[in-house]
């Protein structure tokens, strides 16, 4: 069985994506709508804080809730990591995804000033991938052992690690 296609919602999401892209052309590079009705905004890394504050404060787009903050490692690209923010709107009951890219040694602006929830998520991304967040209060290891060297979720880290336990 295949999920039935909801054309109306897809058109609404397309229209909203074009609206946002028209308002913020400085940072948004591409807007996509997936086949299961999900909106994605692809952003230059300098524009994280403006875009996130816009999505949080604007009347037409009240995405007050940061649901998820993750990173994706694609080692064959020049900018290795993609950072993904999932936002949820409580007033309009809709979700949106915001994606940025960075390579290994470039710091990214922290989303903590926009959403307080980003604190531990950014610590996790730092610990697991090694993406440094500037202006983050208290960036340290979470989830790995105390003397752990290396960043586990990268694709070049072997499954059983470098040190024997």
């Amino acid at each position: 069985t295949v999920r039935p296609k909801n054309e109306v919602e897809q058109k609404q999401l397309c229209a909203f994506g074009e609206y946002v892209a028209e308002i913020l052309p400085k940072y948004i590079q591409q807007v996509q709508v997936t086949c299961f009705n999900e909106l994605e905004l692809l952003i230059h890394p300098d524009g994280i804080i403006p875009v996130l504050t816009f999505l949080r404060d604007h009347t037409n787009a009240q995405f007050k809730s940061l649901a998820d903050l993750t990173a994706v490692d694609v080692p064959s690209r020049q900018f290795r990591f993609e950072i993904v923010y999932n936002l949820l709107s409580l007033r309009f009951n809709s979700r949106i995804r915001v994606k940025t890219y960075t390579d290994e040694l470039t710091p990214v602006d922290s989303a903590v000033s926009v959403h307080k929830a980003a604190n531990w998520y950014e610590r996790e991304v730092w610990d697991m991938y090694g993406v440094f967040f500037a202006n983050h209060p208290d960036l340290r290891r979470i989830l790995t052992d105390y003397g752990f060297e290396g960043h586990p979720f990268r694709k070049d880290f072997p499954l059983s690690g470098y040190v024997e336990v």
């Binding site: 913020l24 400085k26 230059h44 524009g47 403006p50 816009f54 604007h58 009347t59 900018f79």
Partner: protein, 95 residues
Amino acid sequence: QRLRILYTKILGVLQKIPKDAAYRKYTEQIVNQRFNLVQTETDVQKLQDKLNSGHIEEVIVQAENELSLARKMIQWKPWEPLVEEPPSDQWRWPI
């Protein structure tokens, strides 16, 4: 009441943004709509129903957010063309 002061402040801040920005157009539309509704309705309950976006306190909070957003937009200027193009295989999926 407070909503009127907030909306006049927002409109004042919006005047500082250059005229052809899409952000300015759309926010002016929204703010003017809400402003007109606030001025015509004196009854709080009916105003809530007409605006159709939650309680009046929430509308006040939303207007304050909009004001701070407009001030930050003056600094960030998001209506200019793209800062930098991505490398050509950046967003290709599957790789």
